[in-house]
Amino acid sequence: MKDEITREDRVANLKGMGCSRKRVEDARFTQGKGNYVDDIKLPGMLHGDFVRSPYAHARVKSINIDAAMALPGVVAVLTAKDLEPLNLHWMPTLAGDKQMVLADGKVLFQGQEVAFVVASDRYVAADAVELVEVEYEELEVIVDPFKSLQSDVVLREDLVAEDGSIPNGAHGPRKHHNHIFTWEAGDLEATEQVIDNAEVVATEEMYYHRTHPCPLETCGSVASMDKVNGKLTLWGTFQAPHVVRTVASLLSGIEEHNIRVVSPDIGGGFGNKVGVYPGYVCSIVASIVTGVPVKWVEDRMENLMSTAFARDYWMKGKISATKDGKITGLHCHVTADHGAFDACADPTKFPAGFMNICTGSYDIPVAYLGVDGVYTNKAPGGVSYRCSFRVTEAVYFIERMIEVLAIELNMDAAELRRINFIKKEQFPYTAALGWEYDSGDYHTAWDKALEAVDYKGLRAEQAQRVEDFKAGKTRKIMGVGLSFFTEIVGAGPVKNCDILGMGMFDSCEIRIHPTGSAVARLGTISQGQGHATTFAQILATEIGLSAESITIEEGDTDTAPYGLGTYGSRSTPVAGAAAAMAGRKIRAKAQMIAAYLLEVHDNDVEFDVDRFVVKGAPERFKTMKEIAYAAYNQAIPGLEPGLEAVSYYDPPNMTYPFGAYVCVMDIDVDTGVPEIRRFYALDDCGTRINPMVIEGQIHGGLTEALAVALGQEIAYDDMGNVKTGTLMDFFLPTAWEVPNYETDFTVTPSPHHPIGAKGVGESPHVGGVPCFSNAVQDAFRPFGNRHTNMPHDHWRIWQTANNLGMHD
């Protein structure tokens, strides 16, 4: 057979790893043909809506549903009393706590679900919500976690024994009735000793404010109970559909094979859609009760008030060093405000997520971390908003401590980082708090970044600007924000990481069709990351069929193999690895088929792009298309027909992407308006699958970082009222506020991942937040600033300038 095209062309035709393949998802999205949960319309479908508590802490004295039930079109109004016989008035949280589905005797945060109205359409449901009469008796509200730990007010009466004693929680002993857990890592005594005897110590307290992932699509579900066949189908905004199926089975008693969970197109997740929410449970119950499908979709205010906040960490740090800047120890204590129920989405053994990555990218010999979780009258949640579990908090903490230490040492913060980086030859590196970093080359990345932005030139310009400001020549000051981050993603080894007991492996199943095209299904679910495009690229390279001929399916638990879903940048590190491994199984069988067809020994053929060739005789080959056809249509001795493979991948370790970011910012001290002049982002995510998609992820993650650092927050007043419940008050940047970003990269493959990839979606958020914040704080450093808390909105920046006497 004559080969018509060059090897180069064959590689290009494959559209495999490394090329900027255009996304296959885009055709439907650009034509308005996406299928999101609110687009689902089933015959006879009813609409659910919640009666929510206006109070942050109150007893529910009575609920009168008569007027609501009398409204034409209202089919049911569910309260905790209706759910109790099914044992569904409370549900387990992902953090080992439990949470009210509907208010059981009291409410613990503003916006808490009190009753669920089911009606013929959304308007009737909304009208009926207004007609449900709830009598409340207000109780003392606690929104401050420090006060909570001192208060006599018991928030969770269900967690206090009858004799008044405080039983252990899911994560061990509790110190107070409003205390959830203490979690520790590292060596306290050794750390204290080092810090007490250090030449230089810097201490700082910082509040990483509460915020919210706020994807553009809110959370929702459609439940359809088919009573004839005993099957429940549940469509919803689920970042982990298989976990939802298992939880739904455990809660409802419906056998798992009788439940089908489908995540249709998801309009952004960012952590918001990891949790299990009362709305999902109520739509299921309502469908069981009414016998028809029931839809529940929250509105924006409900989304911001009740489903999945992020952060809310009060962090206290001490960092010690020698006089010349070598870091010797790190101490961190966190008071973590978890709200009314501990519904954090973390692996079971890690109630503070991977906060113990807080030694960052630095070789710190000894460290200690203690975290105390606390109940308050705020919404539950504690999800990882565009980051692996609590990694944004950890990286913000260390990147601020480095800056504060630089001030203490009167040293350049870039140089301080450089002399403390873990060195290339130290990898795999075991950090003081236990993690084994797989690979890294921090010095190379840092040097490349600083050179790209002309760091020395920027500092000279900044010094001149300070002079000019002091001389009255300008009212704009200039900041150079630095951050160097190490992520920890791809949870995770099953031995360490589980959610509700389910090990955090992931999976891929491939079926090659006789004509040489394929369908592959994975246990993950895209929410905009472009899995249908990029996973096909991994498979194309592994099995030698064009990505254009490979359909990727996710999100339907009836067809996809079991997996733990998409969050914590785990899709490429775990499911991507499963895809590669399944692809290699296909290839192994294909090799035997090729050898048979070419009448040589198995070991005499080798894989080459899209075919197996006879070693030393490249003109003799069988393409993967030919092999696929033969697999189904030719009797091959000793081989079963067909060409399929499945892989369940339990990663041996997490992956550790890293990056170096620099932000150049001008700040008008009279208006407090920051202007981002330049943002340079160097990311090392190991092997790069699709550079276009990677860049898109970085632009998006940086923009979410900008939002969090410069204005976005979920704020409460003392009464527990949410002050930022609409997009009027909750800051989402528009095109007008967002700069153009410069992206760059180095490639340090993960040594343990089959294709060396590390994951990238969350890196820009993790590295971006401290970079934007450091830029603001660096601008004020020459004027005496040490630390100010985020979010750095215009008002707070103005206040900083004012406090530093810059308006005098």
């Binding site: 650009t30 308007y123 952004g268 905009g528 998006g700």
Partner: protein
């Protein structure tokens, strides 16, 4: 119900008549009565722009227009911009420049961008950024959206020149 009104709409060139309560929002009439689900609901307060449609020649947030206000109007949604066989230039360029990720804002964004390019066929980057500031995207950071729109503008202009 007794307080329903008779609503006439022309959507994407097609006439529709239906009964609706005057308070029903245009977005729900489109999505739930006419099954035009391209425009999405992101906030119901006019902030996010996921529901953007063109009504009587102007970009509007259909989540804050009552059907009573829209009665008799001509409405264009993403479904009316192109067909699978003849995509609008913007639909092509958003794919080409990776101007979308989760796709939820995309129908509103492209509908707005199409109107923007009618209003200002040769916008600067700044004008594009200002012109789409009513449409929020949580995924892309806008950089590639702006690129997509500027590229579509040059393509449209080149096509116009070629036609002259």
């Amino acid at each position: 119900m007794s307080n329903k009104m008779h609503v006439k709409l022309n959507v994407n060139g097609q006439d529709h008549e239906f009964l609706a309560e005057p308070r029903e929002l245009l977005i729900y009439a489109l999505r739930e009565k006419l099954n035009i689900t391209g425009p999405h609901v992101g906030c119901e307060t006019s902030h996010c722009g996921a529901c953007t449609v063109t009504m009587n020649g102007k970009s509007v947030k259909s989540c804050t227009v009552f059907v009573a206000q829209a009665n008799g109007a001509e409405v264009t949604t993403i479904e009316g911009l192109g067909t699978p066989d003849a995509l609008h230039v913007l639909q092509e360029s958003f794919k080409e420049h990776h101007g979308l990720q989760c796709g939820f804002c995309t129908p509103g964004m492209i509908t707005r961008a199409a109107k923007l390019l009618e209003e200002n066929p040769n916008p600067t980057e700044e004008e594009v950024r200002f012109g789409i500031a009513g449409n929020i995207c949580r995924c892309t950071g806008y950089q590639n959206i702006v690129k997509s729109i500027l590229s579509a503008a040059s393509e449209l202009n080149a096509a116009k020149e070629a036609a002259q």
